[in-house]
Amino acid sequence: MTLSIQDFTDVVDRIKKEISKVIVGYDEIINFTIISLLSGGHVLLEGVPGIGKTLLVRTLSEILDLKFSRIQFTPDLMPADITGTNIILEDENGRKYFKFQEGPIFANIILADEINRATPKTQSALLEAMQEGSVTSGGIIYNLPKPFFVMATQNPIEMEGTYPLPEAQLDRFFFKLILTPPSQEELLEIIERTTNVETPKVNKVADGETIEELKKIVRSVPVPMAVKEYAVKIVLATHPESAYAPEKVKKYVRYGASPRGAQALILGGKALALIEGRSNVSFKNIKKVAVPALRHRIILSFEGEAEGITTDEIIEDILEKVKE
């Protein structure tokens, strides 16, 4: 199956249209979610309860004719509860044998709901799956189905009984998207859609194979050297010891973004360029994806935390200071 650029644009437009049937507003969040999906990354959604995080993920799974799995993270959740475990079975002859029982992670779209409620050990169970797309159990590597797309949600205010995600885990997420409360018009629309007798239904737009093909198209988008250099400069500027680092970074940042940040910038830029109908990545694309791609990869210093500085402010300062 070979798709053209036009097919890409059509599929994306249809996905957006179907999502917008259920989700009111959040155009940018939907856009970045699609970008992340087509770039082969995972998304961390952060927002207050009841804002539509889970609904967004479930809607996406319904649109894309893909296997969907939801994991509710709790403090007593064990890694095996996610990845799966070996169980003893008995055959016809009465002989016993081990069989790997796949966990909920063996799906195309995973909703890791309230991921920060699980212990770091359980959270780490996702590391291999998110990065390599495989799970190791009993010395055997089990490949996960493709596309594999994790959408984790976390509640920023419920700090009690939560475990902040470790840096390594955070780095696995392609984008971190923050959902803000809807506006008055959006809220009215939500009420209109969800309180009637008929609830909106979505159609399946694309299957796994189509998504994989779209991912290939995204990766084939050309990026000029100047734009690549610019992405590298931005990532380097997040490091306080870098020559590109502005004063704010030097003062408030403890650790900068990893190379995964640069990858996210370029891949996100590619996907965004295609979604915008262009065939190349521009400086604007890099700038646009910089905030969701880097905000969870920058670790603030104590001074930064104490002064209430956000990583978004740091990135915006970097984008302002670093020249193209």
Partner: protein, 372 residues
């Protein structure tokens, strides 16, 4: 200074700067992308011109680019916009140009002056042979014998003249500053002190003799003390003092009764000028003789009353040399103490006339001379 010289490096520097900073194709395309807001499509197309993609991305890119560029008006897009460097250089250029213009206003004057000087010099040079001839004619008229001497002989003569001690002695002989004179002056002062002491002793004795009389006067300053100023002057015109001093000087050996001693008692000119002693001896003293040509005719020459002044003998005088010396004179004469002896001290103001007229630099020369 001609500032046009400074103008030259600026265009050279600017051309060099442009040449060095000349962008390559990549930079030009990148700038064009930014300038025309092509979203880096031009640079992407240039970089990926040989890129073979299965999805037709480059073809789509080319079409989009063609469409965008077809709407561009390059003549309008590339308006002349001077850079900062060009602006700065232009300002400097204009500034130097103005300096040149200001400077060039005075140039014709200075050129004219130079020409004038040159002409004068040439004129003077042309006159030299004529003047030389004229001088030769004058010399020939005067019949001045010409002697030809060699350079060595001339140098020797010069050296001899310089080595002659006579000139220095002659110079020094004009001033009465030899050691002996000074010594004698000191001795005189000592003698006078002794006299004062004796006088004071005498007074004391007289006071003791007149017991009870005028005892209250004893508290007053002694007469000797009151007269100390007068006694300090070794050239008091009192006859007795003069004779005593002469004796003291004669006792010193060299000062025997010679004509030179008589010469020392000289008459100074009177104020009226009638009694001016114009004999040859008095005229020998430097400063007292009449000037052959008077300087400062407008001021009347000051003539003093004939007052005998004492000129101490000196070693140099024996050699028949005269010294510039003018003894201090007293304005108004103090009454003799012996004639009107009174215990009431009386004071009269004395106005000293400047004694030695000797420039400081000569004094220094003399000091060094005598110290050697």
């Amino acid at each position: 200074m001609n500032f046009f010289v400074l103008l030259l490096p600026f265009p050279i520097f600017y051309l060099y700067f442009i040449k060095k900073k000349k962008p390559n194709y990549y930079q030009i395309i990148l700038q064009a992308d930014k300038h025309f807001s092509l979203d880096e499509e031009l640079i992407t197309f240039w970089e990926y011109k040989d890129y073979d993609d299965p999805y037709g991305l480059m073809e789509r890119l080319r079409r989009r680019l063609e469409e965008k560029l077809s709407h561009l008006d390059l003549s309008k897009a590339y308006k002349f916009k001077p850079s900062h460097l060009l602006k700065i250089l232009s300002l400097i250029f204009v500034f130097l140009l103005m300096l040149n213009l200001i400077n060039s206003k005075d140039m014709p004057k200075s050129i004219a002056q130079i020409w004038e000087k040159k002409e004068n010099q040439e004129r003077n040079i042309s006159r030299i042979p004529e003047e030389k001839l004229a001088l030769n004619d004058e010399l020939s008229k005067k019949n001045i014998p010409k002697e030809k001497i060699s350079q060595e002989e001339y140098d020797k003569e010069k050296l001899k003249e310089m080595e002659k001690p006579k000139s220095l002695e002659e110079f020094l002989s004009q001033y009465n500053m030899d050691k002996n004179t000074l010594k004698k002056e000191n001795k005189k002062a000592e003698n006078q002190k002794e006299e004062k002491k004796e006088a004071s002793n005498k007074n004391n004795n007289q006071e003791r003799g007149e017991e009870g009389k005028e005892q209250n006067i004893s508290n007053l300053p002694s007469q000797g003390a009151g007269k100390s100023y007068a006694y300090a002057n070794p050239y008091e015109s009192k006859d007795e003092n003069v004779s005593q001093e002469e004796k003291a000087l004669n006792e010193e050996g060299k000062g025997s009764e010679t004509p030179s001693n008589q010469e020392r008692t000289l008459q100074t000119p009177t104020e009226s000028g009638k009694e001016v002693d114009k004999n040859a001896k008095s005229g020998n003293l430097p400063g007292t003789e009449e000037r052959p040509d008077k300087l400062g005719q407008e001021t009347q020459r000051k003539v003093f009353t004939g007052e005998k002044i004492y000129v101490p003998p000196s070693q140099s005088e024996e050699l028949g040399k005269n010294y510039l010396f003018q003894a201090p004179t007293l304005e108004g004469r103090r009454l003799s103490q012996d004639k009107s002896l009174s215990y009431n001290p009386s004071y009269t103001k004395e106005k000293a006339v400047s004694s030695r007229i000797l420039p400081l630099e000569f004094q220094e020369i003399l000091k060094t001379y005598f110290s050697q």
